[in-house]
């Protein structure tokens, strides 16, 4: 699957409170959550984001709470993937479980600025910065995580597991 979009770039430790503030967690509908995505770090994000666009952070992206509302808001806002040097672990699990692709790539983060256009090939992890004509390679997913992703997330994976066990 090829993803393509414009980069919104942020710094280190982008936490789940700025991705989706707790004051909006009294609902769980994805569309309502998406309306407030990134509101406390970038109030203009939601009016500027286009389907396919890419969020980029540096280290420990998604730290803080376990709220799945965070990757859900990002995904529903139309973001195609998040690229960072590293991700907080619960955010990483949640994203993979719900089918929001994450890529770890230090070089891409260092050499990309906000507004650059990226093309991402998920299977190979190849990231092309077509604005700057540069090619990067993200860290490949472990085999188990690839299985989860290709199953279409944890719900589908669990369905298959249950079916295989003949429950």
């Amino acid at each position: 699957m090829k993803l393509k979009g414009k980069v919104f770039k942020y710094g280190a430790n982008v936490d789940t409170d700025v991705i989706i503030p707790a004051r909006y967690l009294n609902v769980s509908e994805p569309e309502e959550l998406a309306n407030h995505c990134m509101e406390d770090i970038d109030a203009e994000f939601i009016s500027k984001v286009q389907p396919g666009d890419i969020i980029m952070g540096t280290t420990n992206f998604g730290c803080g709470s376990s709220r799945e509302h965070a990757p859900l808001a990002i995904k529903t806002a139309g973001v195609s993937c998040v690229i960072a040097k590293s991700f907080a672990r619960i955010f990483m699990r949640n994203s993979i479980n719900i089918g929001l692709p994450l890529l770890e790539c230090e070089e891409a983060v260092e050499k990309t600025v906000a507004g650059d256009i990226l093309e991402v090939e998920l299977a190979s992890g190849e990231i092309v910065n077509s604005t700057k004509n540069l090619v990067f390679h993200a860290k490949p997913y472990p085999v188990f995580m690839l299985e989860l992703v290709s199953a279409g997330g944890l719900v589908e994976y669990t369905k298959r597991k249950i079916a295989n066990e003949g429950k």
Binding site: N13, G64, R67, V155, T158, I162
Partner: protein, 418 residues
């Protein structure tokens, strides 16, 4: 193997596991709350099984936005209540409920050797009783509710050894804030933290819960303590199930061993906007405050309220400060009443509330306006965490929070004149 590795091996039917290995672990407790359960229930239904794998092992309670703060949160709480009734799972209603991570250990629902997953990042709190407990998301909880198992990557363990006698006013909160200040908010990313050493042996259970609670603030998957006599005493007459105690092997492999001189650790204050942005109290300077919060899953236990009561007795909360004290559970509330703490708080001019996570995440019961500052015994001080994005949260132990409430600025209890 380390404690974490032994627990995970036992729960995945293996003789041994090593860091980096993917396993499917059987879970002993699956927890979710009023924010995360509605999505977990939705995804559980999508999986298509009728009943949870074991109703005795699934726990749900509303604690973040209850007693319902608005119509939306009332709707969320209703989803949990109805699912709980339908499935016959373990459920706590307002009036019995407390802040989940104070309540579950108190009720003996989490025991040593358990694998516990919760759709709340501070699920790691239960590491204080020697359980492998970790926060996950709603879909993980849905999958575990359906199958009784969850995928996990075995984390490497970092060992933290504390030596020496703690200074006056220094508690578990200061040990953990000092640790996070040292290694950073991703200093233990994907790892298990194991806390040990002579100063930890002396630390109370309440202090250990506080430390394990904030392991996630260093990016960790779990924060573990070995089971000792204090743990056993705590569990006596409390533990609802028999349990297995796992000890780390003498030759266990640690990714890193970090040693601290506890005697040199002062009470810590984490400045905005990261828990790692710590300063010792002697270097805080003049920071005026508008609010002081004493409570939460980090510091809402009886020992925390005792410290606050000792400092607030015969004192008045500063006229420029709202001091809000929230016992973590009904049992903590009752015990504080029996001991006379609640009267001390109210006479001092503090507001006392029924248990709720409330202000910690800017939900209710102490939301901050633009330009306001709060000292707080909670666990996070991110931008906008307690309200306005232009407000500030400073994290501390209950002694500092109580003293600051009296003096109107962040201060040590040593500054209070009797």
């Amino acid at each position: 193997m380390t404690i974490a590795e032994k627990i995970l091996a036992a729960h995945s039917g293996k003789d041994a596991v090593s860091p980096g290995e993917f396993i499917s672990a059987k879970v002993d407790v699956v927890l979710s709350n009023d924010i995360t359960a509605p999505i977990a229930i939705r995804e559980f239904k999508r999986i298509g099984v009728k009943n949870v794998f074991d109703p005795k092992k699934v726990i749900m309670l509303s604690d973040h936005f209850v007693p319902n703060k608005d119509i939306h949160s009332a709707e969320q709480a209703k989803i949990l209540r109805e699912f709980a009734r339908e499935q016959g799972i373990v459920y706590f209603e307002v009036g019995q409920m407390g802040i989940e991570h104070v309540l579950l250990p108190e009720q003996g629902l989490v025991v040593p050797g358990d694998v516990i997953i919760g759709a709340d990042s501070h699920t790691c709190t239960y590491g204080a009783v020697g359980a492998f407990a970790t926060g996950m998301g709603s879909t993980d909880i849905a999958s575990a509710m359906a199958t009784g198992e969850i995928w996990m990557k075995v984390p490497p363990t970092i060992k933290f050894v504390f030596h020496g006698k703690a200074q006056k006013w220094v508690s578990g909160k200061d040990f953990i804030l000092h640790t996070i200040g040292d290694i950073g908010v991703d200093g233990a990313l994907y790892s298990a933290m194991e806390f040990t050493g002579p100063s930890i042996d002396k630390l109370s259970m309440d202090g250990r819960f506080t430390m394990a609670n904030m392991a996630v603030e260093a990016g960790a998957k779990a924060g573990l303590f070995r089971v000792d006599k204090k743990t056993e005493a705590y569990l006596q007459n409390r533990a609802k199930r028999p349990y297995t105690v796992y000890e780390a092997d003498k030759d266990a492999e640690y990714a890193q061993v970090i040693e601290y001189d506890a005697a040199s650790i002062e009470p810590q204050v984490a400045f905005p906007h990261l828990p790692s942005n710590t300063k010792p109290i002697s270097q805080v300077g003049n920071v005026k405050i508008d609010q002081s919060i004493i409570g939460s899953c980090t510091n809402g236990r009886i020992e925390d309220l005792k410290i606050a009561a000792d400092i607030l007795q015969w004192q008045r909360v500063n006229e420029n400060v709202r001091c809000i004290i929230i016992p973590g559970t009904q049992e903590v509330y009752l015990e504080a009443m029996r001991r006379g703490y609640i009267e001390i708080f109210i006479r001092a001019g503090a507001a006392v509330s029924t248990p709720t996570c409330g202000p910690c995440l800017g939900g209710h019961m102490g939301v901050l306006a633009e330009g306001e500052r709060s000292i707080s015994t909670t666990n996070r001080n991110f931008v906008g965490r307690m309200g306005s994005t232009k407000s500030e949260v400073y994290l501390s132990n209950p002694a500092i929070a109580a003293a600051s409430a009296i003096l109107g600025r962040i201060a040590s209890p040593d500054e209070i004149k009797n």
